[in-house]
Symmetry: C2
Subunit: 354 residues, 2 copies
């Protein structure tokens, strides 16, 4: 059922990719365990410095000899509007005071973000990581050519048929198709004004009909049922985030994991509050408080910088109210278990019914 182009390209036994969750979730142990157990571990490196990336790659190489991958955020032009920042700051200041956070005014610029992206790419090439995926867009032709010359397998992220077509046309090898069920940031990059939220039941077959590279299904998949359903819809594999986030090897905070384990499917919401990009997480005070101002908040990554101190302090103070509690729409299926048992359970379910 799963000896396919995708598993062959990625040199993996099972069609399971661990989603590259940014923000410290993808510890070296998590990534390596996934790869050691037949899946593809991925580093969520979107916010990481080149030095951190190099260190983690080397650490993982000591823990596994299998393929693993890394994910980067593709920079896109963003506006830095003084008035938006000022009004966001006015809303955030009382929260900063409550949590005793210093005002963080380091506003990113597009040039700086782009420079950092190219440094990330350089490390990836130097370290010869086997797989690299991208979110929030498609890198330039030059970057894609450089990476392909090194035989790095490239994966793009799409939320619509048109985005999947662009990923294929850019020369990437695999397209990860993110349904509306997915937790964390939306990968939408075309027509970002109108956030596209298409469920996987609709999205996968429509994408499969329009591209010829392997399609990976992402969003709300937690067990063998989701993997089998994805295969029926035409996907060659799955990328799972929340299911790995609650694993024992994950770097997510205990509070974040607890929140997911106790959430229901209708308690995750989409919000721009944390970063300026739409993302799905368990509802909390911060999200509901900011809801009415949501669409006038600064763009990513400006808003992300503005809330950085708040998110950090809230997490350190074990205060769920202001943390980004990313989760997909299937929290009822989340379990606290080892990576090994998660993967074995999935494949056991799949094989049982074949």
């Amino acid at each position: 059922m799963f000896d396919n182009e995708m598993t062959e390209l990625l040199h993996i036994q099972y069609p399971i990719i661990q989603a590259p969750m940014a923000g410290g979730v993808t510890t070296s142990k998590l990534v390596a365990e996934v790869s050691n157990n037949g899946g593809l571990g991925m580093i969520g490196a979107g916010y990481m410095s080149p030095i951190q990336i190099r260190e983690q790659i080397r650490e993982i190489k000591e823990l596994t000899s299998k393929y693993f991958g890394i994910n980067l955020f593709v920079p896109r032009e963003f506006d830095v509007k003084e008035n938006e920042i000022n009004s966001a700051d006015r809303l955030l200041q009382p929260i900063r005071e409550q949590l005793q956070v210093e005002t963080n005014m380091e506003i990113p610029t597009f040039n700086k973000v782009t420079e950092s992206f190219h440094q990330q790419i350089n490390v990836i090439m130097e370290e010869k990581i086997p797989v690299c995926s991208f979110t929030f867009g498609i890198p330039s032709k030059e970057v894609i050519q450089m990476l392909k010359k090194q035989n790095i397998i490239l994966m793009g992220t799409a939320t619509t048929v048109d985005e999947a077509i662009e990923v294929e046309q850019s020369g990437m090898d695999i397209v990860v198709v993110q349904g509306s069920e997915a937790g964390g940031h939306r990968g939408t990059f075309l027509d970002v004004e109108q956030e596209s939220l298409v469920g996987l039941m609709s999205l996968i077959p429509q994408v499969v009909d329009h591209v010829s590279i392997p399609v990976v299904s992402a969003g709300g998949i937690m067990d063998g049922r989701g993997l089998k359903a994805s295969a029926c819809l035409g996907a060659q594999g799955v990328q799972m985030g929340t299911a790995f986030l609650t694993c024992l090897e994950s770097g997510a905070t205990a509070l974040h994991i607890e929140e997911i384990l106790h959430a229901t499917e209708d308690q995750t919401v989409l919000t721009r509050t944390f970063s300026g990009k739409w993302a799905r997480g368990v509802n909390n005070k911060f999200i509901s408080k900011m809801k009415q101002h949501e669409t006038s908040l600064p763009d990513f990554p400006v808003q992300n910088s503005l809330t950085k101190g708040i998110r950090k302090a809230s997490s350190l103070q074990k205060n769920r109210d202001y943390m980004s509690l990313w989760s997909g729409q299937s929290p009822r299926l989340a379990k606290r278990q080892t990576v090994k048992s998660l993967i074995q359970n999935i494949m056991g379910e799949v094989n049982k019914s074949n």
Copy 2:
């Protein structure tokens, strides 16, 4: 694969239910053809008078000896707020003038709606229709008992795990689980303030884990892939709307069908504009024009009455701008074909791979 409790209860050969689309789509020919071809045809009777219902049931009985069903809207208390109606009217008046529609001021009351519902129930019992499904809530214990005494199979509609549990606890036989992908009205009835939009990939397995009655998967399912995927997730069958709406036997307007056949997966949107309840359809001028006022429009069915003339005139004038172009999220998979060929294609695909 599909000899299961659901197909047995409904006396159908294939696990395919034609969604009971209201507003003239479910012609007697459509309903009968679905049942004659091994599925379950359903009358969308939400807006129909008792007399119309009786006539259509009798008409269908002449076209098929197989099981078929009917769907009713469960009345729920609604507010009739003068100020909301007045401001909605101010927004609608220029459109009425443009389309040369008379102002329709027949505002429904809860008592009248409830009375009409009970008349509909009476006809259903008198005509001994084999299957009855409900949307927007759960009827009273008395109604459920009366219908069950007549051996009518009852189906409820749920959009969350909690709603599915309520459907089961009410004594209904089957629960139709509506994912965020679904076209037309959302069936949400608990906590209607927060519209729950969970994708089927997440929703089906979480519901299946919490109820023991058969689960039917609804939303964006158009072909054998969706049926197989639904089965993998734990559903015993599917309910398909858009796929039947574009069939040759459907009563949908030619323009509505054309709009679906030319739409893409990211062009359907959720709107309260037409009826006061959230519903998914192809985006158009009316939806975008009213978007900024959307949350302050009157409740269903008040807003539905206010826009009735506009919708009707727009449709007669073949003007897509103000029509309700209901569609799920898979319009790229829609085809103009007979019911027979739709069902045969689905089952052909399913059997091929087994």
